[in-house]
Symmetry: C2
Subunit: 154 residues, 2 copies
DNA sequence: TGCATATAGTTCGATATCATACTAACTAGT
DNA sequence: ACTAGTTAGTATGATATCGAACTATATGCA
């Protein structure tokens, strides 16, 4: 049946994505200095890209983790001196996260030390190959995002 | 610089893969019956696909997790009655994992209940799109596998 | 045979993540 | 104002995963 074949194919597709994600995360964590976890680096990188003075909830939503996880992650980054969490003048329940100079330079150095390993992959891949896969991945991400917000099933 | 641009592009590529992996895992776990973790299901599915009577190490290597994790996962599956772990006649250090009928039918039912949600994505995606992305993902996986076995960096 | 090394699996401690429950503070409707 | 409901963040307990140390078995070499 067509539907079954499509199902099997999409299953293999997600399986492959999961494996690649796992392998790239493992490579990331082997190379990142200071034993920081990938998720910690991602928060630093996010703050650099979108600007700091975000609330924990904003970061958690952007990075698709729970707020409890974000509390934990910000605690780790704070203990490393990479972020500072202060009060939010606009909302007494909330807080504001700011990147410290140490956090910013750690992020920059981490990217520099990671670049060679991932450049190795980038060189083995043609730009055409990346361009073939990226739009599909983005489309899938949007589909999954939509499914998450308004489930068609359960 | 070309190299920097390539690095930025590959970074976005892996970032997108990570997000899709995370979202699809979350969707998976929302729908899988019985509160089983995705990793547990993956082991069941692996045993169905490659046949059982695998050793824990073989499964761990195929699924890219440590043997300690596999010990834990097989314990959970065993407590559910989905697998049985017996001695390995060929190697006294080792064991053999066998799927039980309950494990096999759980896997089948799980796939059936998962199919609609992922079929939703499959229908939004054209086969051409999947065929554009899959070979690239497989190539990246092989590159990362090779990098893991013989690191060019550190 | 006997010993050094390698491998399979387990155990243990640490950490990341989540779900749930809780507190504090904001918001809306009356 | 008050009250009900909502939202931000934290605390707690559970689970998945990993690395390192350990045990038992296997292998290779002298």
């Amino acid at each position: 049946m067509d539907r079954d074949k499509a199902g099997a194919q999409i299953f293999g597709f997600f399986n492959e994505i999961g494996i690649v994600s796992q392998l790239s995360s493992a490579l990331f964590m082997r190379l990142i200095p200071g034993g920081l976890h990938l998720s910690h680096f991602i928060v630093l990188n996010h703050l650099v890209r979108v600007g700091d003075c975000r609330t924990p909830m904003q970061i958690a939503a952007a990075l698709q983790v729970t707020k409890a996880t974000m509390t934990h992650t910000l605690g780790v980054l704070g203990r490393h001196g990479f972020v500072e969490v202060g009060p939010n003048p606009n909302d007494g329940r909330s807080k504001l996260v700011r990147l410290t100079p140490a956090g910013r330079s750690f992020r920059d150095e981490a990217i520099a030390s990671l670049a060679p390993a991932f450049g190795f992959v980038a060189e083995a891949l043609t730009p055409a190959e990346i361009q073939a896969a990226l739009p599909v991945l983005e489309k899938v991400r949007k589909l999954l995002d939509a499914e998450r917000d308004s489930p068609t099933i359960g």
